[in-house]
């Protein structure tokens, strides 16, 4: 083994790179990359991102694990992304394997391949990458000569559709678990030459909390096709796999020397992670449930990280990231400090996601000194009634005040995110979306008339389609039929005809498949294989999405996608992901669902009392607010 690495690099630079689009995706010598000795490092892992370079490089999780693993003397971690179709063609034509960017090592030479599961529509890319890497697709077909294939990330909370292909899943925060997995491999490798025996390795990994090995569980189905039972096959595996969570964000590893790509990527900026989790409790939001509880980083640590990042990267923009950054306890003072520290160097500060209610006029004016990119707000629903159903605790007044403040501060472009197809949605809720959009546009126009804004007023309305997701209060809800979603979008398109408004919508057929896999079970592995064999990949890229192939794949496998996506599941039924424990109790989710249908909102445990989701006692962690108390008032 190993002989292919050198020729691979020269074949690529001499013959292939000049023929593919954006060759920069495949260079692998960006600033801050780590090139460790292949021969001298005992355990080698490839971090596989099942999408393009520019998407994957924007992912914070990759930056964290890359730094974390490569800091350990015995382990190395190299990157591999889904090659674009032109590169794939060049590789296949010459019989060359998919390779890592740092060493240009063939995928199958690694001990471990780790996929991150960010969205369901990347699943066929996983199959394609394994195939290009010359690794057997099915876990059952792999031998001691093949790498171990693991996966983590938000979609691992319903791992079942990928159970055939992934040897082991990590449930929860990867930096808590990964070193334990690598340590186990190292231990077994040192006791015998070559790769560890797979059966021995899997048994050993099953003992690590948060690791789920699907091969050790057997699924039985009921008469109506529902999952009836998931039974552990081996005595040593737990009946339920419990999420791993970092107790204190101040003490966890954080990378301050991330890779600086040559080409423009989706988020081309320094990312400062203010906190993890979100307790707002939006009832459709999976991230809000699976990343509980809220754990903030202290401002001193954030400022120190910012300083190190500025020195090691050289970017011109810094973004304060989190699920809802405006909620950080000391957000105002933090922004002021960062502006004072870096404005002179021409570095701008941006807040990617702003909660309407935490966006004070004050903050708007403060952020005014910052980059003037578009502002984004997500009211999600058009009426107060529906916002109460989904527990989006914002009012129309909040939104109008916030956008008013933004226009007053000189912004001309505002983006508004909504969802269509939410449970209990009526015509009036769609009318509400159009209403809000027009009122926001009118606000803008009035500021424009007063001379505050020179540019054209631009209100962008984006609607996505509701997808019922595992581990949320809406997991039992069915999705609207595609034709209904289409009608709703058409209706909005009619109502949003205004020069100042741009309307974007998601393809409902894609959201339909997302719902299928978000709530899917193990049998869908056959569908994935069939769809990939027909040529499905890069499904979330509209030019590649092949609806007919997908439908043919379902038909071939005798499975009905409508049953998966649109069915309302009774509370009494066992869910395919019930053996994966996020710490949030099913009882709480059911109560939240019932409250939703009754239109009753639930408060936020960041500011009010514990609402009993169960995560803190189950995982023995606490909500941690470290930014100081001053800003609870901000949200009122």
């Amino acid at each position: 083994m190993g002989g292919l690495r050198l020729p691979l690099r020269s074949i690529l630079t001499d013959q292939i790179l000049s023929k593919v689009t954006k060759p920069t995706r495949y260079i692998g010598t960006e600033w801050n990359t780590v090139h460790k000795s292949w021969e001298k490092t005992p355990v080698k892992m490839a971090f596989a991102f099942p999408d393009l370079y520019e998407v994957g490089m924007s992912h914070l999780g990759l930056r964290i694990l890359y730094g974390l693993v490569n800091e350990q003397p015995d382990f190395l971690l190299e990157r591999v992304f889904a090659p674009w179709v032109d590169m794939e063609e060049e590789l296949r034509r010459r019989g060359l394997p998919l390779f890592s960017l740092e060493s240009y090592a063939p995928l199958r030479e690694f001990d471990l391949i780790g996929f991150t599961l960010q969205y369901e529509m990347s699943y066929t890319n996983i199959l394609n990458m394994l195939d290009l890497g010359q690794i057997p697709l099915r876990s059952a077909d792999r031998t001691n000569d093949d790498p171990l294939v693991i996966a983590g990330g938000p979609c691992a909370f319903n791992p079942e559709p990928l159970a055939d292909f992934i040897d082991c899943f990590v449930i929860g925060e990867g930096e808590e678990v990964l070193l334990e997995i690598l340590g186990a491999i190292r231990e077994l490798k040192s006791s015998r030459p070559g790769r560890p025996d797979r059966a021995v390795l899997l048994r050993r990994l099953a003992k690590i909390p948060g690791v789920y090995i699907p091969a050790f569980y057997q699924v039985a189905y009921g008469e109506n096709g529902q999952v009836e039972e998931v039974k552990a096959r081996e005595p040593m595996v737990p009946p339920r796999v419990i999420k791993r969570v970092i107790a204190d964000l101040d003490r966890v590893y954080f990378p301050t020397r991330p890779i600086v790509p040559f080409m423009e990527i989706v988020h081309d900026r320094i990312m400062l992670e203010l906190f993890r989790g979100c307790q707002r409790g939006c009832r459709f939001c999976q991230a809000g449930m699976i990343y509980r509880p809220v754990r903030e980083r202290s401002p001193e640590i954030l400022r120190r990280q910012a300083e190190e990042l500025v020195k090691s990267i050289g970017y011109e923009e810094m973004s304060l990231t989190s699920l809802s950054s405006g909620d950080y306890c000391a957000i105002e003072s933090l922004i002021k400090q960062l502006l004072n520290d870096y404005e002179k160097d021409g570095i701008s500060i941006s807040l990617p996601s702003l909660r309407i209610d935490s966006f004070s006029v004050n903050l708007a004016q403060e952020v005014q000194r910052v980059r003037k990119s578009g502002l984004t707000f997500a009211p999600e629903a058009g009426t107060q009634r529906l916002r109460d159903v989904i527990n989006k605790n914002v009012t129309e007044d909040d939104l109008l005040q916030a956008t008013n403040a933004a226009f007053a501060a000189g912004w001309s472009a505002v983006k508004l995110y909504f969802m269509v197809g939410l449970p209990t949605e009526e015509r009036a809720d769609l009318d509400g979306i159009a209403d809000i959009a027009l009122r926001v546009a009118d606000l803008g126009t009035s500021w424009q008339k007063r001379g505050h804004i020179k540019k054209r007023i631009q209100v962008t309305v984006s609607t996505s389609c509701f997808v019922p997701k595992a581990h949320t209060p809406f997991q039992w809800e069915g999705q609207d039929p595609i034709s209904v979603l289409q009608e709703k979008q058409d209706y909005l398109r009619q109502k949003l005809r205004d020069k100042r408004i741009t309307y974007n919508w998601h393809d409902p057929s894609l959201s339909f498949l997302e719902a299928v896999f978000a709530r899917g079970d193990r049998r869908l592995g056959r569908v994935l294989t069939a769809a990939w064999q027909k040529g499905c990949k890069f499904d979330s890229w509209s030019e590649h999405f092949k609806w007919d192939y997908w439908m043919a794949a379902f038909a071939e496998c005798g499975l009905d996608p409508v049953w998966y996506a649109q069915r309302r599941i009774p509370y009494s039924e066992r869910l395919p992901w019930d053996h994966i424990d996020s710490g949030v109790s099913k009882r709480y989710l059911q109560r939240e669902h019932e409250q939703a249908l009754a239109g009753i909102v639930t408060a936020d445990c960041r500011y009010d009392a514990c609402t009993g989701c169960g995560v803190c006692p189950t995982l023995e962690v606490d909500v941690q607010l470290k930014g100081g108390g001053q800003t609870a008032a901000l949200s009122r």
């Binding site: 920069t24 600086v260 040559f262 011109e316």
Partner: protein
């Protein structure tokens, strides 16, 4: 306000960064300068950017041995220090060769550079003798016009590149054709090395491989007759 100190930098763009675009190269150099803590002068406006200007765009995939840029700083630094600090923060393949302080009123690089020297290596599909190669080159140089096809935004155009070929020499080495060419560049007309190979195939009948070309730009000059480098101009 006093004029800010301006530096001229000669650098090389080798592999694998030859595959990054001009825009990405500019960003890479800027970010490296920031990492090095250089006191970059910034332009005004909402998105201030460093005042860096380039000599001549190097097409993607071509390596460059003597490339040039000008940069303005807020305060004066010894050129050696500027070079060392910047170099330390550059990714592999980018090498700063020399840095000099230039008069603040020196004309922009872009406007003065008018010719470029290239070295090209391409595999021959036929076995030719050294004499045949020389004859082919003489034949090219003897032509009054060499019309090739150039892809542009408006579609394929017919262009005569002969006036833009200032010198051409070649030899055969191990089944490969080694060419040295001096070509006009910039606003007064621009010829690309690939176009010369196209002409050689078409007008002199040499048959060459269509892929795996190695092209290096070995120099940029001012004045085709005297071949002054942008660095020499400063002294």
């Amino acid at each position: 306000m006093d004029k800010l100190p301006r530096y001229r930098v000669e650098y090389a763009k080798g592999q694998p960064v030859a595959y990054i675009s001009h825009l990405d190269l500019a960003k890479t150099l800027e970010r490296a300068a920031r990492r090095a803590g250089l006191p970059l002068a910034l332009s005004g406006g909402f998105n201030p950017h460093p005042k860096v200007s380039f000599g001549s765009v190097l097409p993607v995939g071509i390596t460059g041995e003597h490339e040039y840029l000008d940069v303005e700083l807020l305060s004066e630094l010894p050129p050696q220090e500027l070079k060392a600090r910047w170099q330390e923060k550059l990714p592999p393949g980018l090498e700063l060769r020399e840095v000099r302080l230039v008069p603040t009123n020196a004309p922009a690089l872009m406007s003065v550079i008018d010719c470029a020297r290239y070295h090209v290596r391409v595999a021959l599909l036929t076995s030719n003798t050294p004499d045949e190669i020389q004859t082919a080159i003489q034949k090219i140089l003897a032509q009054e016009s060499l019309v090739i096809e150039r892809d542009s935004k408006k579609g394929v155009r017919q262009v005569d590149i002969r006036p833009g070929i200032l010198a051409l020499a070649g030899r055969i080495d191990n089944g490969r054709l080694d060419l040295d060419m001096l070509l006009r560049t910039g606003s007064q007309g621009n010829v690309r090395p690939e176009e010369v190979i196209q002409a050689i195939k078409h007008y002199a009948g040499l048959s060459v491989q269509t892929e795996g070309w190695r092209i290096t730009r070995t120099g940029l000059y001012i004045g085709a007759d005297k071949l002054v480098s942008p660095l020499e101009l400063t002294s």
